[in-house]
Assembly symmetry: C2
Homo-oligomer: 215 residues x 2
Amino acid sequence: MAHHSEIACLSKATIFKNLPLPLKKKLVTISSHQDFFPKGSFIRQPLDGKDGMIFLDSGHAKVYTLNTAGKETVLEVLNKGDSTGQENLFSTGNHENFIQATEDCLVCSMKRHDFQMMLKDSPDLALSLLNDFGERLITAEKNTVRRNSMNAKERVLDYLKDHGKKLGKTSFNLPLQKKDLANFLGLTPETLSRQLNALQASGQIIVKGQFISLN
Amino acid sequence: MAHHSEIACLSKATIFKNLPLPLKKKLVTISSHQDFFPKGSFIRQPLDGKDGMIFLDSGHAKVYTLNTAGKETVLEVLNKGDSTGQENLFSTGNHENFIQATEDCLVCSMKRHDFQMMLKDSPDLALSLLNDFGERLITAEKNTVRRNSMNAKERVLDYLKDHGKKLGKTSFNLPLQKKDLANFLGLTPETLSRQLNALQASGQIIVKGQFISLN
DNA sequence: TAATTGAATTGATTTAAATCAAGAAGGGAA
DNA sequence: TTCCCTTCTTGATTTAAATCAATTCAATTA
């Protein structure tokens, strides 16, 4: 929880990128910076007593819940620059989701109390955050449509294209294990494996382990 | 777009219910009130040039998208007191969703421009809205979990219990046609029909047309 | 009132994806 | 390096839900 004096991870976060410099500097003073989470470790979990939002300076993470039967549902895939848990800046309830590093991560975070203090005299900040919430809702809706109106092959291809677009690349490594990606797409690992094969066979992608290339 | 002088629909909306009275009064002055939408009509649709958020003073509505193949995905079920489209208070992009009255509706709405003016000097308002966004995200996640980790029967029962809880009742009329509810749950109408039968046969609910009673 | 139209239901059948099963590949730890 | 454990892949089989098909029902309107 070192407090840097210079503009760090926060200013790189998509969510705050349009804020004026003085405000960014203030945000940095109330943030923790570049906490290290090794692959597999939990950035957040239910009942950990932590509040506020987090964002990824580097690495990848997955957000998921467990239902009462222990079945996992992957809700979000976090890539470098993404943030999540904004809802914890306001509600006083405990968060219910697990956030687990799927690669070594550097994470910045902001506490509810500190954030709320700042919010009172920064309409810009509120607006920025409201915009970001809007984006997250739209993404959530997009994921719902993907699961609801596409078959297995279409879902896989749609995700890959979407991810490539987000990165601005046509080749990349998957940000999650395939079993987690399968879950995120509402599929089983077996089905994902077969669909990746099929997409490669039809010349639409190249797959080598975690590496994907779009054609 | 009549401008009432008294506190009307807006003050009843869940999203604003915790705001101080003077602020509510100001909100009323920038809202349209109780516009009537007959069953089947569109409250919003892509390219209608409308912006801002809406909320339901009475009636029911569904929010849905059409994919390029024309397949519908029902994203939200709106009941009395619910609001949607908050994301349109900020982004300048066009909204992509259809909002259609599934019963006769009275609708209030607020325009982006008017709202943003108010937001600048009302931190309370921003906070209220941010809270609401958080709720909507959590609901969206809950819907994802329902679709991802439950079979057809569980989804139906979970929805019915959820809806009953929301209303504080054990008997109610479904807020949508069954074909739309089926879509919202990621099912076909045939499957919904059969599952409602099965739930009735096992004594868990009573079904009479749109009327549902939970046991 | 009857006619029309879409919604809902019921039954028969198909099918996409899940499940089951077994081996191969990969990544740590000792 | 070997061992262990999890993930990934491939094949065979099952199954839950979709699809197809045909009535029935309900709402609207002429």
